[in-house]
Every structure is written in structure tokens, then in C-alpha cells.
Amino acid sequence: VGLVRNGILLEGNVMYLNPAFDNRPRLDPQSVASLVGAFCDRASWMVTHVSQGLQSQLNCGKSQKEAWNNMLVELVRASESHCHYVVVKTFAEELEGVQDSGSRAILSSLCHLYALHGITQHSGDFMQAGVLNGEELEQVSKILRTLLSSLRRQAVPLTDAFDISDVQLSSVLGRHDGNVYNALYAWARTAPLNKSQVHESYDKYMKPLQKSKL
């Protein structure tokens, strides 16, 4: 923000702070590119907003240290919005390099879901930044619900694609063959407390208690 104020054009992940990024068209929740733009605008607004907050504190005579401390919560939110933008942008860019059309389609749906879910989780930020209004938020939620339903049938294959073997997963519930209940019972049977039918503590503590006259 400091550099931009001095007329220096930024490159890389902070390019959105340049003035040229103003005046983006309204959000289209069906388009991943438009959603990336929304994350960019949210980050831009939040970073600039917190910078203005800092500046106004300094103008009121607060020291740099005081001003910084007074804005810590907002500074963390601004950083989060920046990171969120970088993640969404990287995911969307990654899709462009995917050659196999089936893989590209499913990853595109996941990217779409990731972005829409991020917007619903942080709708306040997007509204505050002027990227989103109530009507658009409703649209976002509607498309999100549709995506959940359409991805439901792909969920297990999408986890299979991680290709994590049963040994590596180390989970009875997550077994590849789905034979969860038999395995859960077998696992419990091998627990140390089941080494003997009667635990030694019975003779040591419970039996004397039961024999004692209270």
C-alpha cells in the first residue's frame, strides 16, 4: 500500500493493489474467473481499508506502535483475505494446465465449490467490500447447494484419487473395502484391556469393596 501510494506499480500476488484493478464487472457466481475476481476485490478492499485505518490513527496523533496494535484484528483479517485470494487464484490457474478433460471438469467443479463456499463463509467481508449484495449471496448459496448435490456421487472416487492405502490411512472407518463394522469389532477385541476376561484390578479393588460391609 505504501509503494502504491508513491505511484509504484506492483507485480505478482499483490498486483490487485494497483489502481488499474478498479471497476470490475458484477459478480457472476457461475464463472470461476468472476469468483477469483471477487476474492481479489475483497482482498484489495480489506488491505486498503486497514491501511486507511492505520493512517487515520496516525493522523489522530497515535504512535506507529499504538496504531498498529489498535488494528491487529483487522490486519489479520486482511492477511487472511490475501491468502484466500492466492489460494483461489492458484487453484483456478492450475485448471488451465490440466490436459485430460474429465479431470479438468471435476477439478473445475471442486474449484467452483471451494470459491462459493469461501464466499458464503465470509459473506460479510464480500458485502462490506461492495463485491456482493444480498440477492447475489442468495444466488451463490443456491449454486453451492446444486454443486453439493452434483458432487455427492463423485465424493468416494475423489477420495480414491488421493490413493492413500489402508496401511497409510491407519483408519478402521476409512478402509477401502468399507467393511467398517467387522473391523471395528476386531480392533476393540485386541485392545489391552481385553487381554484377560477379568482384569487384575477386579481382585485388587472391586472384590474387596464388594465383600466389605459398608
Binding site: G2, S149, F162, I164, L184
Partner: protein, 438 residues
């Protein structure tokens, strides 16, 4: 196979193998990974009972036994490519932490990045062969992410050409490094350097902790395990108190900063260079975060198609719980997040590699960006992953609470990532500082 899960796999809308290849970075990488995993999974020496049934000491013993076998096998199999070693190690420990993590992930890279040619010649081969087992002692009991606040001192004595190391207060005691408690015989110790009466700031020193024959702590070294923890039970996180420990001048890592024989200090070209290994680890943490979430999602989603609950239509079978929109809303965005974090993990790693090459060529201009990006993304991803694992656990109902699910262990082993290598809020504020400068 359970009929419900079998049905889920009938006719996916995409080629599962193609996506696996894409995630691995190519078909040949998938094949290599599977080969290495098979080597571990078919090795009877690596068979074990469920770890949840072991005590803390039993788990450490089990982990060390695996470490020893792993190192022997790495040599026997002739694995030299760091990617192969990393895949093999992940397979041996199923992604869990191990007592040699800091030796392999920080001590060796620290030598490679910060040691002079002479130092490499002296330390690297013995370290590679595990005669020297190192750790990275930075964090102190009373000081964490704020490195300038560290209290450990290294006073240069030009008369003997030695550094005298001390942890002058209780709060200065080194605290938490993996492998420090019982495993390591050396450590890279971060200390405030004093020479010619002036504090020159934080520098890194190689300190021998234990005798190479008996493994007993050396004079002036008080070292041990910090005790039971929330998770990480395979690892001996340790404490280290230094009482007038003398090390030769040549044990300061001097690729960038230097202390000459008369005590003259030569500053490094960039202050950020001292944090290079930490930045490397933060990049790894981002990739690892995605793997943890992949495991949690795999467990919760597979279970959600096996588990049936309630009755929507009288007389009809109970629906699979993944058919409920609430379950989809809990799990599918996390599945998407796993993929997003996989790609961002690759992105940070590439960024680290590219900028490291620039640094090697003497260009330090992008270090600030790397530092800010890796710090922010480390915080961003680990916060979400830890919360995500907990969501997956709760999505498995009561069975998620059982260690059999694997989810409690995933949670307790991923939770520290929010605090190690930089507490997350502090990391976010470092990113904020960079953004404000921009």
C-alpha cells in the same frame, strides 16, 4: 467389499487414475510412490500393532526402531533422491511425525544451506550416515516466534577461538525441538552472538550434545524430554540447558555471517537468510496440511457412505448419511479445500525453489515476498486443516471419537502446526506488514 461403497465406485464421471497422476505430478511419480509404499508395506519388520494401544515410552521405542530400520533400508535400497527418501519415510511412518524429522528436515538442510565447504566436509557425511543425529534448537521456554527476543548467548573468546554458550535464565532453556530429548547427539542452536563486547544478533551454532559412543550428555549439557503432550507421542520433544558450553569457532554456521579469528563480525548480506530453513519448513507444512486433510476427508466420506442413519420413508432402508445435505455441506467443501491446498502447497514449494536459486545467485530481492507468502499460507492452511479434521471427526458421529477412526491422531498431530514454525496469528501479522509496505 461393502456393497454401498462398491456402488459408489461404479462409473465415476472422471478417470480416477488420471487425477491421482495429476496430484502426484505424473504417472511415473505415482508408480514410484506405489513401489516405495509397497516396499514398506511388504516388509515384515515394519508390521506393528495399533499404536493407540501403546504407552508414550512404547510409542517412542516403536518409532526409533522404525527409524533405525528405515535408515538401514534407505542405504540398502540405494535411495539418494530426496523425493524418494521423503516418500519412503512418509510410507514408513504413515505421515506421522518421527524422532528423526528435525534431523532430516532441518539439521541436514541447515548444513546444506548455511554451512561453508569446510563445515560440510566435516559434518555432512557423518550426519547423512546418522553417526551425527541433529536437531534444530531455536524455540525457548519463554520465547517463540519473536526471534530477536531469544536469550541464549554465544560469547566469542578470541583467546581460545571458541564460543561459550549459555542459557542464562530458566526462560532461555531451549524447549520443544523434536528429537532433542533422547535421540539427537548434536543440535543447531540459535543464539545471540556477542563478539568484541557487541551483540551481533541471532546466529546458528552446531553444538555436540551427547558422547558419540555412550550417548551420555556432555559436560554443561542438561537435556531431556518435555513430557506427555496433546499429540506427537512418537517424538521426544526436548529441553536443553547450556552451562558454559565451549565449541570451536568453526562450529558457527558461516556461509553468510562470519566471525574471524580476532572476533571481527562480518554481517550476512540479508537478515532474512537466517530464516531460510524455517521458510523451507513452512513451505513443507503447507503441502503436509493438504495430505492430512486428504486423509481426514477420505475417512469421513468413505464412512459416510457405509453408515446409514434414520428413516426418511417408512419401510425403506435407512439412507446413507452422505445423502443428507448437512453431511455434504460438512464434507464436500473440505474435499475441495484439500485439492486447493494441494495446489497451493506445490505453488509455495516452487516459489521457495525459485527464490532459493536467486539467492544462490546473489539476488535477495524476493526474500521478503517469500517470507510473507510462506508465513501467511502456512497460517491460513493449518488453521483450516485443524478445524477441518475436527469437522470430519464429528461427521463420523460417535465412532469418530474412537482412536480406531484415526481421526483423533490426525487431529492431535496436526494441531501443533498452528504454533510451530511460527504461531499463526504472528505469521498473519508478518504477511500484513508486507502488504502494508506494498
Amino acid at each position: 467389499m461393502n456393497p454401498d461403497i462398491k456402488k459408489e465406485r461404479e462409473g465415476p464421471a472422471f478417470d480416477v487414475e488420471a487425477v491421482t497422476n495429476l496430484l502426484d505430478g505424473g504417472r511415473d511419480v505415482t508408480e514410484r510412490r506405489r513401489q516405495l509404499e509397497a516396499l514398506v508395506e511388504n516388509d515384515p519388520e515394519f508390521l506393528s500393532q495399533p499404536l493407540s494401544f501403546l504407552s508414550q515410552s512404547g510409542r517412542y521405542d516403536h518409532a526409533i526402531k522404525r527409524c533405525a530400520r528405515m535408515i538401514q533400508q534407505i542405504k540398502k535400497l540405494g535411495l539418494t533422491d530426496p523425493k524418494d527418501i521423503s516418500l519412503y519415510k512418509r510410507a514408513v511412518f504413515c505421515g506421522r511425525p518421527c524422532p528423526l524429522d528435525l534431523h532430516l528436515g532441518m539439521f541436514l538442510p541447515m548444513l546444506l544451506n548455511q554451512a561453508t565447504e569446510d563445515q560440510l566436509e566435516h559434518f555432512f557425511l557423518p550426519a547423512w550416515q546418522c553417526q551425527i543425529i541433529g536437531t534444530y534448537a531455536q524455540t525457548e521456554m519463554g520465547h517463540g516466534t519473536f526471534l530477536r527476543g531469544l536469550e541464549t548467548t554465544a560469547l566469542y573468546d578470541p583467546r581460545t577461538q571458541e564460543f561459550v554458550l549459555n542459557t542464562p535464565t530458566v526462560t532461555a532453556i531451549k524447549w520443544w525441538p523434536g528429537g532433542l530429548g533422547k535421540t539427537a547427539n548434536h543440535a543447531v542452536v540459535l543464539a545471540q552472538l556477542y563478539t568484541k563486547g557487541t551483540c551481533q544478533g541471532l546466529n546458528a551454532f552446531i553444538v555436540q550434545l551427547r558422547d558419540l559412543e555412550t550417548h551420555a550428555p556432555l559436560p554443561g549439557i542438561i537435556v531431556g524430554d518435555i513430557g506427555p503432550k496433546f499429540g506427537f507421542n512418537d517424538v521426544d520433544n526436548g529441553f536443553l540447558k547450556l552451562e558454559n558450553v565451549r565449541i570451536p569457532r568453526t562450529n558457527m554456521l558461516m556461509k553468510f555471517a562470519k566471525v574471524e579469528e580476532d572476533g571481527t563480525y562480518i554481517r550476512p548480506p540479508s537478515d532474512k537468510l537466517a530464516y531460510g530453513t524455517m521458510v523451507f519448513i513452512r513451505a513443507l507444512i503447507v503441502s503436509e496440511a493438504s495430505y492430512v486433510l486428504a486423509k481426514a476427508c477420505t475417512i469421513a466420506i468413505r464412512y459416510s457412505v457405509v453408515r446409514r442413519q434414520s428413516q426418511q420413508t417408512p419401510g425403506a432402508p435407512e439412507p446413507q448419511i452422505l445423502d443428507y445435505q448437512t453431511q455434504q455441506h460438512k464434507l464436500l467443501p473440505l474435499l475441495a479445500t484439500t485439492y486447493a491446498f494441494h495446489f497451493i502447497g506445490n505453488y509455495v514449494s516452487k516459489m521457495y525453489q525459485n527464490i532459493s536459486e536467486s539467492v544462490d545467485a546473489g539476488n535477495y530481492s524476493q526474500l521478503n515476498e517469500l517470507h510473507a507468502t510462506s508465513a501467511g499460507l502456512k497460517a491460513f492452511t493449518t488453521w483450516i486443516v485443524v478445524a477441518g479434521v475436527e469437522t470430519c471427526r464429528m461427521a463420523c458421529g460417535g465412532h469418530g471419537f474412537s482412536c480406531a477412526s484415526g481421526l483423533p491422531e490426525l487431529y492431535t498431530n496436526s494441531a501443533p502446526s498452528c504454533t510451530y514454525e511460527g504461531e499463526n496469528t504472528v505469521m498473519m501479522l508478518q504477511t500484513a506488514r508486507y502488504l502494508m509496505k506494498c
